[in-house]
């Protein structure tokens, strides 16, 4: 029985068979005999999550546009499918060819969130591929990684042969080209890796020695060989407006999390909110022209048949041509009956024009993120949003007919006091009051204000990278404070205390020793840790204990500015000095103006060709 027959035999036994069989519109099938490099693009989560991710669509498109490369998709089989696959000896396979992942030259994982790390091991094991890089002797089955978590890849460094840092569009093609050359020459894995390490943006973790101090902090990370860079700098695409963007997406049969066309409007962020990792690691700020955006939107919808398109960026309203962009896009979307959604709006530059642009088709709720409950704490995190601006925005929204507002907050931010926590409720309450004070509020219906409170996790390459993260007990106490504040019935309060934030905090700023604990926990049955079906904190505690590692050392400890950090040899363009300056300003509740008002000297403008277009 061939693999396809075996798969067909079992998939009727599991939930949603269509997850496991491919064949979707716009999926790319090539003749493998004519291919030099086969690339298995693995998303370490379910089909529905992975198929919603934009990065995989961009890189799938770019790789498959090359004649000699075939990129296929691989997702993590859910528990029921895993059981069936093991019963029938079905190895992990790719969705286009249904060939085993172990047939592929390069196996690439995108690391979007820390809690997916065990799924990388799970997928490798299902593919029958050794988990540790050192146990994979051949060039074939090269395991590579990328995505935001690669900005501190140390916790998973021992499992990967190399990481691609920063924008993947160019470097992934260079990697495949180099691989092809070495495959042809019959090079060893070591020979290939030595050459790969010379490509800007490629980090080969096995080429570095890591030493520790007696207090368990890092002493040094040094290259083992000549020609291996001391610091690896991330890649930035040269011309963002002209960089390839898919004109078609693979259109899934089953409903996925984000089942719509997605248009990336800009990359990077001018704001510099101090808690936000994305705001620093995607710098410099670059945007696409209105002309490019309109063309890409039309192509995507025409080739997929989607009737919904979402504009994607860290802060869409910061596009310099936001108004002409929206008016051009709505002209087209109205005519084609396509609904346009704009998920990332700020409260300080939200205008009636923007609202008109998005309210054409559906009046669903609006979401804003004040992030903190008092002005002092908003200044600490450099959110640069005032209560007045929030009220102005909510007024425009209410007057425009909206009656539902969702507000995002965080607790556990540095310097936070009980007053700041209570301020979350006061802020939400003030929006409710604002609604009832409005003469021309929508009649006949009440207002609902949802306050969603997340737990802050300090991340690498941010001004808060040195901070201690709250323990679970402290988080629970702060939730009690929140609950204790009297509030209107119009306010829905959402919060959730979980050890997942603790583990996320450990992985985010972990060093190379964490890898052992990840291995132990996986071997002890931990995977799908971002799902309640999979997460079991006790297994993690056992794994850390067994390895003699202390979670609080990584997550609950304040670091001094002169400590060597596990990601100090990884350069995302934002200098450590700048982050330190920003951190000190945070302690004084001093804000930093956004990049368009004045350049704060983060360092990201030095990327050749990808120069910062924040126009400071």
């Amino acid at each position: 029985m061939n693999l396809k027959e075996k798969i067909e035999k079992v998939i009727m036994r599991v939930q949603k068979p269509a997850r496991y069989i491919g064949g979707e519109l716009n999926s790319v099938v090539k003749d493998k005999e004519k291919i030099d490099v086969r690339f298995a693009f693995c998303f370490p989560d379910t089909y529905e999550i992975g198929m919603s991710h934009l990065g995989i669509k961009i890189l799938y498109h770019i790789l498959n546009s090359k004649e000699n490369i075939w990129c296929e998709r691989v997702f993590a089989p859910w528990f029921d499918m895993k059981e069936e696959m093991q019963k029938e000896n079905i190895p992990l396979y790719a969705l286009e060819s249904l060939d085993p992942v172990s047939d592929f030259d390069i196996i690439g994982f995108t690391l979007q969130y820390e809690l997916s790390y065990t799924n990388v091991l799970y997928m490798l094991e299902m593919a029958g591929i050794p988990l540790y890089s050192r146990d994979r002797k051949e060039l074939k089955n090269l395991v590579v990684g990328g995505g935001p978590c690669a900005c501190n890849p140390e916790p998973v460094a021992d499992f990967f042969d190399l990481f691609m840092l920063g924008d993947g569009e160019d470097v992934i093609v260079e990697l495949c080209d180099l691989y092809r050359e070495h495959k042809k020459k019959g090079s060893s894995k070591q020979e290939f890796l030595l050459d790969a390490a010379k490509i800007e943006g490629i980090y080969v973790p096995s080429f570095y020695d890591v030493t520790y101090n007696e207090d368990n902090t890092l002493k040094e990370i040094t290259p083992k060989y000549e020609g291996v860079p001391k610091t690896v700098t991330k890649r930035v695409v040269k011309d963002f407006d002209k960089t390839p963007y898919p004109d078609k997406f693979v259109v899934p049969f089953i409903e996925t999390v984000h089942d719509r066309a997605v248009l990336e409007v800009l990359r990077g962020c001018i704001r510099g909110c101090r808690f936000c990792q994305a705001g620093f690691i995607y710098r410099p700020f670059r945007e696409k022209s209105v002309e490019t955006l309109c063309r890409q939107a039309k192509e995507l919808c025409a080739n997929t048949g989607y009737d919904e398109i979402s504009l994607c960026s860290l802060s869409t309203s910061d596009h310099t041509q936001i108004e002409s962009m929206l008016s051009e896009l709505t002209k087209w979307s109205d005519k084609e009956k396509i609904s346009l959604s704009l998920p990332s709006l700020r409260v300080d530059n939200f205008s009636k024009e923007v609202l008109d642009g998005i309210s054409g088709i559906r009046k669903s709720g609006l979401t804003f993120a004040p992030e903190a409950g008092t002005q002092r704490l908003r200044d600490v995190i450099n959110k640069n949003v005032t209560l007045e601006e929030l009220h102005n925005t909510c007024r425009i929204a209410f007057e425009g007919g909206y009656t539902g507002i969702k507000l995002y907050f965080m607790i556990g931010l540095p310097t936070e006091t009980e007053e700041d926590v209570k301020g979350i409720i006061y802020t939400a309450q003030s929006v409710v009051n604002l609604f009832y004070d409005l003469e021309n509020r929508p009649k006949g219906c009440g207002v609902t204000v949802t306050a969603s409170v997340a737990t802050f996790v300090p991340k690498p390459h941010t001004p808060f990278q040195w901070e201690a993260q709250d323990s679970l007990e402290t988080v629970i106490h702060k939730h009690d404070v929140l609950k204790g504040v009297g509030r209107s019935k119009k306010i829905t309060l959402n919060y959730h205390a979980s050890n997942t934030s603790i583990l996320e905090g450990v992985f985010a700023r972990g060093d190379r020793r964490i890898g052992q604990a990840i291995y132990e926990a996986y071997k002890n049955g931990s995977y799908f840790d971002s799902w309640s079906e999979g997460f079991d904190f006790e297994k993690w505690q056992a794994a850390f204990n067994k390895c003699g590692l202390d979670m609080a050392f990584y997550q609950g400890r304040h670091r001094s500015f002169d400590e060597v950090l596990p990601w100090d040899h990884i350069n995302y363009g934002v200098s450590k000095k700048f982050l330190e300056r920003e951190c000190k300003k945070a302690y004084n509740a001093q804000t930093t103006e956004h990049c368009r008002k004045s350049c704060a000297g983060c360092g990201a403008n030095k990327f050749a060709g990808g120069a910062c277009s924040a126009e400071c």
Partner: protein
């Protein structure tokens, strides 16, 4: 505006697309094709579309149909060609025509079933299908019910083909009664301890009360 009945086949990997997902698939295909079809009016306009008969997940078909209302002044052949240019592998329009019958007159379907490697069970299958009563649990809107599904088997033929067992089945389909061939072979599989997983199931014809093919 012109009512059109679009006959299509659903083969290979496309058999794993559920009935609900077929709706979304055709909505998107119509958009990609650029053909103007009629949308329902009202607060949330959507493409008007009616499938004659649902098809069970895992079963292939040569004779599915969906009705739409064509607004563009184009030929049936053009509708067919433009849809085929944008449909995913496994789904192919074979004919577009004016609806002749109402879907409510559908009463049965013909199926071809191939059970791999169990040709030696021919006698058992013959005996199984010759019974007056085959009790099985049917899941319906009102919950689960124990019914005699033999009442919904209108005809059959059993042949051994090499190492496989081939069945021709005429089973109830439509508004009144419906029998999914997977249920029938599932009962056989249980009673005779035979694995029928990965069986090939193909709907070959949709028939009306008077025995004519649904047009």
């Amino acid at each position: 505006m012109q009512n059109v009945r679009i006959f299509f086949i659903k083969r290979d990997r496309a058999k794993y697309i559920s009935h609900l997902d077929m709706t979304r698939l055709f909505q998107r295909a119509v958009r990609r094709s650029g053909i103007t079809m009629w949308y329902t009016e009202g607060f949330h306009p959507h493409l008007y579309m009616t499938f004659a008969l649902p098809l069970a997940l895992g079963t292939e078909s040569n004779c599915e149909s969906v009705d739409m209302r064509l607004i563009d002044d184009i030929s049936f052949n053009e509708v067919k060609d433009r849809l085929n240019a944008v449909l995913p592998v496994g789904i192919e329009v074979i004919e577009v025509s004016e609806p002749v019958m109402k879907a409510s007159v559908i009463s049965s379907s013909m199926y071809l079933v191939r059970l791999y490697g169990v040709a030696d069970k021919k006698t058992a299958m013959d005996a199984f299908l010759a019974q007056d009563e085959i009790m099985a649990i049917k899941k319906g809107k009102a919950g689960e019910k124990l019914v005699n599904i033999k009442n919904f088997v209108y005809g059959y033929e059993v042949n051994a083909d090499g190492s496989d067992l081939c069945l021709w089945l005429k089973l109830a389909s439509g508004n009144q009664n419906t029998l999914n061939p997977q249920l029938l072979i599932g009962v056989f599989s249980q009673q005779h301890n035979v694995s029928v997983e990965g069986a090939f199931l193909l709907r070959t014809k949709v028939l009306c009360e008077n025995g004519e093919e649904f047009k």
